[in-house]
């Protein structure tokens, strides 16, 4: 049986290893950190785990509609392509730090990219 992308990256353990690194990068990234400065860091981290699970091709029940609704309030605050690019870049850097091979990183970036229009509500 062939392994799924999620399994190749390392499944839930990989999500857990990635979330702190990714969240630190996002908080330090002036291009996008204003969107993540929620008062409740735990809740933010849980949402980021959902993001990572989704991008790793892991189990989730998100629809395009969920992505639209989930980011609508951010689009109203000016979310655009440059922010999606920044998120995908931080995601790639996170995976690099975890020694994930480049071809898998490209697959992850492609999944994130595939919902770009939904995230940006267009």
């Amino acid at each position: 049986m062939t392994q799924s992308l999620y399994e190749k990256i390392g499944g839930e353990a990989a999500v857990n290893a990635a979330v702190d690194i990714f969240y630190r990068k996002v908080l330090a990234d002036d291009r996008i950190n204003k969107y993540f400065e929620g008062v409740d860091m735990e809740k933010q981290a849980a949402k980021q785990k959902s993001f990572l699970t989704f991008a790793f091709g892991g189990p989730n029940n998100y629809s395009g509609k969920d992505m639209r609704e989930g980011h609508k309030h951010l689009v109203e605050k000016g979310l655009n392509d440059s922010h999606v690019d920044a998120v995908i870049e931080d995601l790639g850097a996170t995976l690099k730090e975890l020694n994930v091979p480049d071809e898998l990183i490209s697959e992850v970036a492609a999944i994130a990219n595939s919902v770009r229009d939904d995230v940006l509500n267009r």
Binding site: L27, A28, M41, E42, A46, K49, S50, P59
Partner: protein, 334 residues
């Protein structure tokens, strides 16, 4: 199949059904999002029966021991009574005031005896009810395993409604009501070698005094560094007790800190804000466990700084002493 009790109603789970699916099938709406056990939107708490481990994966240990779980991945193995996370599951309990003594010019130590057995973890807090209904939160500094009476450490604020009442009117022998325990800021055994940093300002020392002694009692072997911050040297209390604890335990270090303004009387305390002094001393907090209690601004800023300094978010426990609004409402969330 197990029966789920929610809001006083009984619901029969079908084979393999999750708590979320079962409640939803019966027309009960529970907030949810990812529905795959990650985003924690459907967080609930079991108040009877134990959730399966799978439904608790990724939750903070202090939530796990209080039987929090994610409804979307909880296929119950036994009968459970469940509530939404954050629901008030405590009831009023009578306490008798056993003692009241000064710890400093404006800090009082209060001892309370509950009328019934009261189970809590040092560092959690209670809501204290004044007879006219005014409510304030106070942290528990005592250790239940030593059968100590409940201990509170209360700063008397000029014009503070509850705290001046405690100072001027509340007497030994009085009967009051409390609700609790509440809160996720306490010691959980299981990683005895992990280093622990605790930073508290003012009476933020109260929960930390409980947590430090609890950790030592439970045989914690990693380093335990306590930074206590105060505007003035007079606000440093329990100094002798903490120094004694330091002598008794090689792995415990106590660092009192006083703001610039109080520098003249600082004695052997370090000058500077406790959170900054701690970060300078320990710039890399990777794999440390962190406890932050007291001033809400210090707690919020230090939480972020500790995370950026390498601590994992799941290892940071925080208890901001949020002040009540000017009305009579209580502020019990943390």
């Amino acid at each position: 199949m197990p029966v789920i009790t929610y809001d006083k109603q009984l619901y029969q789970c079908a084979d393999g059904e999750t708590v979320l699916q079962c409640l939803r099938r019966h027309g009960v709406s529970i907030p949810s999002s990812c529905e795959s056990g990650v985003c924690q939107t459907c967080l609930m708490q079991g108040i009877r029966g134990k959730p399966p481990a799978l439904a608790q994966q990724g939750l903070k240990d202090t939530l796990q021991v209080q039987h929090y779980f994610m409804a979307c991945v909880c296929v119950p193995e036994e009968e459970m009574e469940v509530v939404l996370a954050g629901a008030d599951i405590t009831h009023l309990l009578e306490v008798e005031v056993l003692g009241k003594e000064p710890l400093s010019d404006d800090i009082l130590r209060i001892y309370l005896k509950p009328a019934e057995p009261f189970d809590y973890k040092p560092g959690q807090f209670i809501n204290l009810y004044r007879p006219d209904g005014l409510v304030r939160s106070f942290s528990l500094a005592s250790l239940p395993q030593r059968e100590e009476p409940l201990e509170l450490q209360v700063r008397v604020l000029p014009g503070g409604r509850m705290s001046t009442w405690i100072q001027d009117e509340m007497s030994v022998g009085d009967k009051l009501a409390i609700k609790g325990p509440v809160g996720d800021c306490f010691y959980v055994p299981g990683k005895p070698q992990q280093n622990i940093l605790l930073v508290g300002t003012g009476t933020g020392l109260a929960p930390l005094w409980g947590i430090v002694r609890d950790a030592l009692d439970q045989g914690h072997t990693g380093q335990i560094h306590l930074y206590h911050g105060s505007y003035t040297a007079d606000g440093l209390y329990l100094v002798d007790e903490l120094r004694a604890l330091e002598r008794a335990h090689q792995n415990f270090i106590y660092m009192p800190c006083v703001d610039e303004a109080g520098a003249a009387e600082a004695g052997d305390a370090t000058i500077g804000r406790a959170d900054l002094v701690a970060l300078t001393a320990i710039p890399d907090l990777k794999s440390w466990r962190i406890y932050l209690c007291g001033h809400p601004d210090m707690v919020a800023v230090m939480k972020k700084k500790a995370f950026l300094a390498g601590a994992s978010l799941s290892d940071i426990y925080a208890d901001p002493f949020v002040y009540s609004a000017t009305d009579n409402a209580s502020k019990a969330d943390s």
